[in-house]
């Protein structure tokens, strides 16, 4: 099997994973925008973490980054 075929075969299985990542990212970002204060007081840092670290970024924000109102 060559590389192209492998990737083509994998693709349908990767879509749900990608959707999961996008959903977590969007939920985390929406929460971040709405929240007045976050841990560490830097929203930009959280955006970088949420967008660039797959799966773990949004999870860490939702678990530890939110400051109660």
């Amino acid at each position: 099997m060559n590389g192209f075929e492998t990737i083509k075969e994998m693709l349908p299985f990767l879509i749900p994973l990608a959707l999961l990542q996008i959903a977590l990212m969007v939920i985390a970002l929406v929460d971040l925008v709405r929240r007045k204060r976050v841990k560490g007081d830097s929203k930009i840092l959280w955006v970088v973490l949420i967008v660039f670290i797959n799966i773990i970024g949004p999870i860490i924000y939702l678990l530890l980054g939110r400051e109660e109102e």
């Binding site: 590389g3 492998t6 977590l24 799966i55 999870i59 939702l62 678990l63 939110r66």
Partner: protein
């Protein structure tokens, strides 16, 4: 147990509002989907990347996929259980919301039970969704898999997570600092995992639930009902002690 129903409703809402269900579900689902996928395609991806390097992988099977998924989940699940439960009571006391809730006509037992029940519900839903997804991927990628064994494994995993939650909840009621609560709980849970390998004593640790579960998959499983009984006793004991510690404390 006065006010249990009202408290439970409040705690379940809180699970959604604080993204608990989403966090647990997201992490579990990620491992549920990626484990079979990695097992199937990693050898081929490595083959594409490496030029002359020949690495022999054993041909992956459905059994391997489900076994790897569940052992990953058991480890990750304990970590998340500790992270989620460590603040459950400690944080509420710190912020004063525990005092507010307990000033109403609700029992301290109900307060503790509602918390454990709500967190357990989140874990069970997340585990259910992730396991179904992982099973579907495994069947699609590798063919037939042992469904009844996998169901049994999941029930044992759920009990294992409830034990992890209740141990952490107990320390969350004992300590003011949630980090201290989480640290001690994690140390104990890792300690029991080490003990679960010891003959005889191991039969009474929650860790034996996992080895029974993975054994169910391959069909050769010495049952570990002693571990089930011990786990239920641990949950009851943790709830009782947590209630006691809240009764004795100034909230």
């Amino acid at each position: 147990m006065t006010g249990l129903a009202a408290l439970l409703k409040k705690e379940l809402k809180e699970q959604l509002k604080t993204y608990r269900l989403l966090i647990i579900g997201g992490v579990f689902l990620f491992f549920g989907l990626s484990t079979p996928l990695m097992l199937k395609y990693l050898p081929e991806i490595l083959k594409l990347a490496g030029e002359d390097v020949v690495i022999e992988f054993p041909t992956p099977t459905a059994l391997m996929s489900l076994q790897e998924y569940s052992s990953t989940l058991a480890q990750v699940g304990v970590l998340i259980a500790v992270l989620i439960a460590m603040g459950a009571i400690a944080r509420e006391r710190e912020r004063g919301t525990a005092a507010m809730v307990l000033s109403k006509p609700v029992g301290r037992g109900a307060f503790v039970v509602a918390k454990l029940a709500a967190m357990s519900t989140s874990f069970i839903i997340a585990l259910g969704v992730a396991s179904v997804a992982s099973y579907v991927y495994t069947v699609l990628l590798f063919g037939e898999a042992n469904a009844s064994g996998f169901l049994g494994l999941n029930l044992l995993l759920a009990l294992f997570f409830i034990v992890s939650l209740s141990v952490t909840l107990l320390f969350s009621s004992l300590f003011r600092s949630q980090l201290a609560a989480g640290g001690v709980a994690l140390a104990i849970l890792i300690g029991q995992a080490v003990l679960s390998g010891v003959p005889w004593i191991g039969d009474f640790t929650p860790g034996a639930l996992i080895s029974w579960g993975t054994g169910l998959l391959s069909g050769a499983a010495p049952s570990a009902w002693t571990a089930v009984a011990a786990s239920l006793a641990i949950v009851a004991l943790c709830l009782y002690l947590a209630r006691l510690s809240l009764k004795r404390k100034e909230i």
